[in-house]
């Protein structure tokens, strides 16, 4: 696998941006050269950055032998929407990055091979951006999503939420920024496969459960609950479930190969 730290100009955000990318390395182990890779865009949580998943999960070990490209952007504390104060993060995540990947890398053109995923603020972002662009993302994974940002304003004292969602946060209640309304709005034939998980000790358990209840009939939905808090100890276990859900065929006999933890990238 190749790991690239990218620095480029975002046309949507009109500034330099940085991202981490894990690129399958054909010829190493069992990867075939002619393959078009699957794609995962992986969103971090509030007060963190593009390095979060690399440092806190085993994402690098897990994808080492899979034909999957993983792209991890920085979302600052934008909640990944086109913010009230006009930073166009949704456009960046759901339009510019896919275009960038299709241009530069050997990625699959089929939406079934694309997954947008994230944790907490990133889970909200995955739901909002994914459900707004169902023709790009055939799969959406929400890890303990902050699905109603208004409810957690008090938990994020360092973030001026009105910059993102407007005074009184009414901007967050619009269709384009509300996962519940968005989920209801996607035409049946376009609906992505959904993966939802949240630990029972997580302060976001109820809202994730509520979201699941809304979508479980209409969408092809896979959910995981169980013991766990708002932390990577829980999400790392679910990440394995996510890979089994997103690329069962690529996993050998359904399990990760090799000796995770002690092989070279």
């Amino acid at each position: 696998m190749a790991w690239a730290s990218l620095n480029f100009r975002s046309a949507s955000l009109k500034m330099p941006v940085e991202a981490e990318v894990l690129i399958p390395q054909p010829g190493y182990k069992d990867l075939k050269q002619e393959e078009n890779y699957k794609v995962i865009i992986l969103l971090h949580g509030a007060n963190n950055d593009r390095m979060e998943w690399l440092l806190k999960s085993q994402i690098m070990d897990m994808t080492r032998q899979l034909p999957v490209l993983v792209f991890m952007p920085s979302g600052k504390n934008s909640f990944y929407i086109n913010t009230y104060n006009n930073y166009r993060y949704k456009d960046y995540i759901a339009e510019e990055i896919p275009q960038f990947l299709r241009t530069h890398f050997r990625v699959s053109p089929k939406k079934e091979d694309w997954l947008l995923a994230g944790e907490s603020m990133g889970g909200y972002g995955a739901a909002v951006c994914g459900l707004s662009h169902p023709d790009t993302f055939g799969n959406v994974a929400v890890f303990s999503g902050a699905l109603v940002p208004k409810d957690i304003e008090k938990d994020l004292p360092g973030i001026r939420m009105s910059n993102i969602f407007g005074k009184n946060l009414e901007y967050g209640e619009r269709l384009e920024n509300d996962p519940f309304q968005l989920a209801a709005s996607v035409p049946a034939k376009q609906r992505p496969r959904m993966f939802v998980c949240c630990g029972e000790e997580d302060f976001l358990f109820d809202v994730n459960r509520k979201f699941y209840e809304q979508i479980k009939e209409a969408y092809d939905t896979t959910a995981f609950w169980g013991i766990g808090g708002h932390e990577f100890v829980y999400w790392n276990e679910r990440l394995k479930d996510m890979f089994k859900w997103f690329c069962p065929a690529e996993l050998e006999h359904g399990v990760f190969m090799g000796r995770p933890g002690n092989d070279i990238r």
Copy 2:
């Protein structure tokens, strides 16, 4: 905590080198500004590099609230000795880096506050460099050390061992490159505290056990065995034990604080 990716000229190696450093951030949480930090120099295994511990262990989470500076150099496949073909890695690890840290950072001058640790090839390096410089390193930790490199030549087909240890690897049998002879040679008053661990399924179990048997009386030695292979699944558990052994007072009531896994660095 601050994380620095360093690039500087090594006088010992006569080339540019790179290293990762985790620096305690006084003022954040409970760190006191006037403190001199403890130091851990952490060595990676064969066929890997300075990013290994950051990517495969929770070292960043574990030290976030500790007054401990962690320095992770790249050792290429040098086994961290002054090699037969004249790359002076031992001088770099055990002399130049400590001098560099004493010069640039607010580190403790006391050897009791310094620890040299590593896994596999890095465990061998920790033993060799640490026991050669007991006035610098008051603590040495060996995780599944490749303590007799000659025995594992067949396991490392990609490494031309004769560059490092000479034809027939006889250079590895000299006092200065042999952990067993070195351990026997350190005067009683200078002996560092030793931490040794190896899982029972590890192909290096026997040699680590043998090393332990040799030193357990003469050295202040702490050892961990138990189920486990040659991999980070095992080493990550031992890493927690290592912190309890190296900085029990700094851990609050002997345990890691906070929510490891979901706080910001």
Copy 3:
């Protein structure tokens, strides 16, 4: 010299930040170990980031043999003030970074040894932050400063200036954000040494000239004009002048030593 890419949590900005630092390497060439380094904080221009000076100037070559630490933060498009929408960049630049440097590095405690400098938006930031904190910065260098941001709003179509300066940009006219008022407000005994430069073809020539006319009597001011545009071709020449002005004694016989361009860092 050591080059560190830093990643840490900013208490002022309440998010992870990144910065580049050039650290003198004692023992290499003529640097003395016991020295406390001078400090330059170097600010980039609009639509750029912390890598700008490293990539576009010879700053690394110029400081290789000087006992000067150079810190290059990212300012996004904040103009380095405490913005209208509440990102506290001025606090970050003028309070948190100096505190960070005093804590972690061997820097001089004397304000005479500290310089805040920048180009364009960064020149404005240097003037505003420096003149607001004259007890920290004994020296301020303005390269083609965007000293009246309101005047260049049309030149920066990608930046929503009202986020930074408020609707109608009236927030930029307050004392704390206006270099002209700030310069008039600093008590005589506290005034920093000033370095001002701007090329004659630069669209900011007039405003820099006007600033110079205001301060030239009251401040110890050094100015450079001459042929040149709003670009590094000009600023690189002035950067040499800045070093002669800021550390004449450290330059050997007043000139840069060695073979700039082909030595190792």
Copy 4:
């Protein structure tokens, strides 16, 4: 343009390697999306690394608006050959990297669109690797090449040349490591276009001149001499000439567009 810092496993070198890549950004300015980029592999000099050209030349500015991908590997002090002590750098540079680029990026399949270039030790590497693989590299550029490494052993006291070239450096006199013999050995129809330059004050002037005299008739050769030493002050001027030689059509009216030095990457 996107700038990627790459980290991947080299099969030739059997270890993790790092490289810097500048990737054209279609859609930005005049780049067309359907284009296959030209490729430049750019080799650094002795005692330096993959960042050298980025930090010491204007390569980033120069290629910002060109459909050219630039790949800058680290060659340590290997002289880019398959060394006597068995590090297979030539295979890495001339086989593995081209294969890596063809696999991952949208690069031209035509050798006319590929250029291997370098300065000093990198100039030797460009000549040796390029002339050994004329079906891959249709263009080779030598900046002040260390074309007879034996002659400069005394100038590189930090490098144990016998590791690379064997005792008495006789390994450097073999056909596969000698630019002069290699140049004589390439069949007429396969010969790459050659670019050679060296300043008159450079201690390598004579050997570069001699190389030029040997190849000037048989090869399509472009040469630059003139005042200059062994340094980037000279090479930066020649770099502009190299671009005019390698991509005249892509330069607008033969000159670099825009405002080099003050635009965003």
